[in-house]
């Protein structure tokens, strides 16, 4: 494999936070509710109104975030579009299934069905951008985004791609999320459950390129997705990249602060006693691709770092599964 380096040259997001190109953790509000909906931007500013009418919220959020991320580069059309999503286009999936029931399995309308597939967002972005290159969508629960990122990372490293647009998208579907509240997996206004999270939705995209620019946010040094995680695995990950534990200056953790997760994050943090720590789900809520927003915060943070020698490490997992590590270096 060649020694191409991979840089984050563009970022874009739609989240429950106010739109920003430079998030400041000290002014961001921590979420308090069980279900948090994303703040919707003015889509008509970036997309033709006629193309918006069939798009569900997830498609619109993904398209908007992708366009913002690409706008930060000089590239008009990316080589590839790679997305990750936990539950895909949930709103259209629910609509389609509800219509099936409502109409006694007759009179099935095509729009919601066509748009309900998990790769709708990646497909729509490709149509809008005229990208006929590699287009892939990963659906791997809480490592969906990391899988998409790893794919782009390996293909750019291996010179199969020069650049890629990579993102994570998940939207709140009212029926599904109501059921998850009944199952005590998502908190309600009245009650915080032992295994309940504060859920949210959003889309976050990155434009990755093998060439750095003056605006580059960070270099992605390595990505790892694991079924289990322990001290040895973390140490090996860092030593493979010739980095000592004390060189990691910041940790971005995808913790939902549940009892079941505590052991994993505590033992992880204990390896880095002097590192700065950010629990990004306090700001963006939990969804299967919330780690994409974590990476956005970490990349912006890396860009602002004064000291060049400190690295930023992201660790994400959920209920002891879907562990991932992403290592960033200031450009």
């Amino acid at each position: 494999m060649s020694k191409n380096t991979i840089y984050i040259n563009g970022l874009g997001s739609v989240s429950i936070q106010e739109q920003s190109r430079n998030f400041d953790l000290s002014t961001m509000l921590e979420i308090q509710q069980g279900i948090n909906l994303a703040k919707q931007p003015s889509y008509k500013d970036l997309m033709p109104p006629a193309s918006l009418r069939r798009m569900s919220k997830g498609v619109k959020m993904g398209m908007y975030a992708a366009k913002i991320a690409l706008q930060e580069s000089d590239i008009k059309t990316p080589d590839a579009i790679i997305t990750g999503t936990g539950l895909g286009c949930l709103i259209d999936s629910e609509k389609f299934l509800e219509l099936l029931l409502e109409n006694d399995e007759n009179h099935l309308t095509p729009t919601a069905f066509i748009q309900s597939t998990h790769n709708t967002v990646g497909g729509q972005i490709a149509l809008q951008m005229g990208c006929k290159g590699y287009n892939f969508t990963y659906v791997h629960q809480n490592s969906s985004f990391e899988s998409a990122l790893l794919d782009a990372f390996l293909q750019i490293k291996g010179s199969e791609l020069e650049n890629a647009l990579v993102g994570g998208i998940d939207e709140v579907g009212s029926s599904t999320y109501k059921n998850l509240q009944i199952a005590e997996k998502i908190n309600t206004e009245e009650q915080l459950f032992e295994s309940g999270v504060n859920a949210a939705e959003g889309a976050t995209f990155f434009f990755l390129n093998k060439e750095a620019t003056e605006k580059s946010y960070a270099e992605i040094l390595d990505i790892s997705i694991e079924n289990t995680m322990d001290k040895n695995r973390i140490e090996t990950f860092l030593s493979d990249n010739n980095i000592a534990i004390q060189e990691v200056g910041s940790l971005f953790l995808g913790s939902c602060e549940l009892a079941v997760d505590k052991e994993y994050f505590s033992s992880f943090e204990s390896l880095f006693p002097t590192a700065e720590k950010v629990l990004y789900k306090r700001y963006v809520g939990h969804h299967h691709t919330a780690s994409a927003f974590g990476l956005l915060l970490a990349a912006e943070h890396a860009q602002k770092q004064v000291c060049n020698e400190k690295y930023t490490l992201l660790y994400n997992q959920f209920e002891g599964k879907d562990h991932s590590l992403i290592l960033l270096k200031k450009c």
């Binding site: 109104p49 006629a50 009418r53 069939r54 109409n103 007759n106 009179h107 099935l108 309308t109 095509p110 729009t111 066509i114």
Partner: protein, 85 residues
């Protein structure tokens, strides 16, 4: 017939998510496809389902659909003559 035309316009705006279009902007004789309202093949499928679900009319011949879906006026005339509910 006028009531049916108005009903059709309301249903088309709702079913096809034509959020930015007012009832008054759709003329009875305006082309629904192409240069008129700009509907496409997915919209045609939605209209076929609408005819079946709301008026009990099953369209199976695509050539027939081309005639019927020319405008609100042609749709209303066909529905008035063939509706079963």
């Amino acid at each position: 017939m006028e009531d049916l035309k108005k009903e059709l316009k309301v249903k088309i705006i709702e079913v096809l998510n034509l959020e930015d279009i007012e009832l008054s902007e759709i003329g009875d004789q305006d082309a629904l496809f192409g240069d008129g309202l700009g509907l496409d093949s997915i919209d045609a499928l939605e209209l076929i389902v609408l005819m079946d679900k709301d008026y009990g009319i099953k369209l199976s011949d695509p050539k027939e659909g081309r005639e019927i879906f020319q405008s609100i006026e042609t749709m209303a005339a066909y529905i008035a003559a063939h509706r079963t509910k």
